[in-house]
Symmetry: C2
Subunit: 357 residues, 2 copies
């Protein structure tokens, strides 16, 4: 007992083997790497926000159940308050779901490529990850997926709908078959719902194993860290036991409430992003050496004939930051560009045209 062990040996084996997750901070002029809304809030809304922040008693603990914010979301989505849980971003809700349902060694299933946090968080919680590669059209291979469910008995399945980073929404009927046949929790992550307008909300009552994830990050509030989930009462009751009582801070609750109460302002921005997305896809289609994939999100994945890493570097050298997936074998020579403002998209199209020559 007197000899102290090496600290590293106290760390869980699964964590020891994890690589540190690095958020790259590459300086840039045009930031199109993180699916952020490129627009600022109108001045009038900012004034309302500042009045709201002034009212927040920051010396007091926040409302543990975020009543006001949940009330606003509840009216928007027509789901009762008790079926909604607010998280410190969707990331925290993914962790919450896994901490509630997943025990040491349990399996978590998702397609690949998809949102990297499903795998990263699972591994950090000592859960085993199982993946099914998407087909050449980025579609979910249903039979293989169902077979994997039967064989590996996952505790939790994650489906990003539409999928990040491919941009497409998987076939609805395939997902319904998964909901019907999977004897486990099925999380449908609708992070990009505002850009696809496709949802599994109507199925919430029918499928007790369904959890729908949403986030405010893609529509202009990434800095606030507000995500939410919707699920059956029974699921919410269990998740709320594991949820930290003050996981959502008072200022973010206030600002998000005010912005959602003035939804018309962000709705304009969302429509501008959708329209710019279509223009950007058309622009990319017209460039030789680039194949853009269809998108129902606020980003576009595209493949370059030329080495993707080189194209990424050329863009970066011009001050334009996109996301490079060089190290992912399913995404060889693929880059992901977030839809920016009209001017940013023009600049991007201009520079990429020269970069792929």
């Amino acid at each position: 007992m007197s000899k102290l062990p090496n600290i590293i040996n106290l760390v869980k084996k699964d964590v020891r083997e994890l690589k540190p997750y690095q958020v790259e901070n590459i300086p840039c002029r045009v930031k199109l790497d993180a699916m952020e809304n490129p627009y600022h809030l109108p001045e009038s809304l900012m004034m309302k926000i500042l009045e709201g922040v002034k009212r927040v008693e920051i010396n007091r603990y926040p409302d543990s159940i975020a009543s006001r914010l949940k009330g606003i979301i509840s009216s928007d989505v027509n789901v009762p308050i008790d079926n909604i849980i607010i998280g410190n971003g969707s990331d925290e809700l993914i962790q919450l779901i896994l901490n509630t349902f997943g025990e040491n060694g349990d399996r978590v299933l998702f397609p690949t490529p998809t949102f990297s946090m499903y795998g990263i968080i699972s591994k950090s919680l000592s859960l085993k990850t199982e993946v099914i590669p998407l087909d050449e059209n980025w579609e979910l291979p249903l039979d293989k997926f169902l077979h994997k469910i039967e064989k590996n008995k996952p505790k939790v399945i994650f489906i990003s709908f539409p999928n990040n980073p491919t941009g497409n929404s998987f076939d609805r009927e395939s997902i319904i078959k998964i909901l019907q046949k999977a004897p486990c929790i099925v999380v449908i992550d609708e992070a990009y719902y505002d850009f696809s307008r496709k949802t599994f909300l109507p199925y919430l009552k029918e499928y007790k194993n369904l959890i729908i994830l949403r986030t405010l990050s893609k529509i202009g509030m990434a800095g606030l860290r507000v995500g939410y989930l919707m699920a059956d009462n029974e699921i919410c009751r269990e998740l709320n036991k594991v949820r930290l009582p003050y996981n959502s801070n008072a200022v973010s609750q206030e600002i998000a409430s005010i912005i959602l109460e003035n939804r018309v302002e962000i709705q304009k921005q969302i429509e501008a992003i959708i329209s710019e997305r279509e223009r950007l896809i058309d622009g990319l289609k017209g460039i030789k050496g680039i194949k853009p994939f269809p998108s129902e999100t606020n980003f576009i994945l595209f493949k370059t004939v030329k080495d993707g890493k080189e194209v990424f570097s050329r863009l970066a050298n011009s001050g334009i930051l996109v996301r490079n997936f060089g190290s992912d074998s399913y995404l060889k020579d693929c880059l992901r560009v977030t839809v920016g403002t009209h001017e940013e998209n023009n600049e991007f199209l201009d520079v990429i045209q020269k970069s792929v020559v």
Copy 2:
């Protein structure tokens, strides 16, 4: 595979057995239940905060490593930035530590009574909790504690210093012996450091198994959810693998930075709280039927000759909310009052005097 299981059977056994954690929202006029700083920020500081909030690009993801806030804290405490991790409140850091070191069935040791979240979070993560009751002076029984360490081999030990809810700081030499002999992570939670001015920071280099927790919640920023920990590089590296990359939101980072840059303002409030605490203890000592315990925090635990629940109700009926520990066998007829403003404390003393008759 076609028959769906009852959802509840998918939940981890340890979570199923947990009771939901309820934050009680009892309406009150004088809120003295939650160790909050009772003072508001001066108007001049609020203006700086609003200017700061206006500058935050809430459409962008926050700084993942909270460089500015960590820089300010680093100068304050004289600990390098790389040895500091910011959390969404200390709660999240407790969960982070347990998720990094604790595997299914590992043991977590702490004295009792202490901060309830050590036990609640441990259980939600399927870790076994071991407790050692404090002695009649709320002191840590060192031999029993060391024996328990040897026998049960905990992965993590939590020591609240000073201790919540008893208010005292345990003997420093006892804690040093624990640090020397425990072959595991020892977390010293200095949530009330600003009121005790006692710290284990000078031991951080010597004991590689030491993690020190601090929070901004008790000094006026409970609504922001900002906690931080300080530890050896190796521990920080592993914790950062499990930490969610955007766990600290941009607005809280901004506001906390501005308040800490104007520390003189909160320092005045802290000194007022300490001075009121002494006045409150003296006042309670003068009331027959009440035994206040010494405090190095911003709250006072006291025992009533009369049934504690009844005293609590009488206070509540007068609009004064304190914390009742009725259900805890170690805290029979004990109530905890947070130090309020001068006027709030006067009102509390006035009402409690009549309530214990």
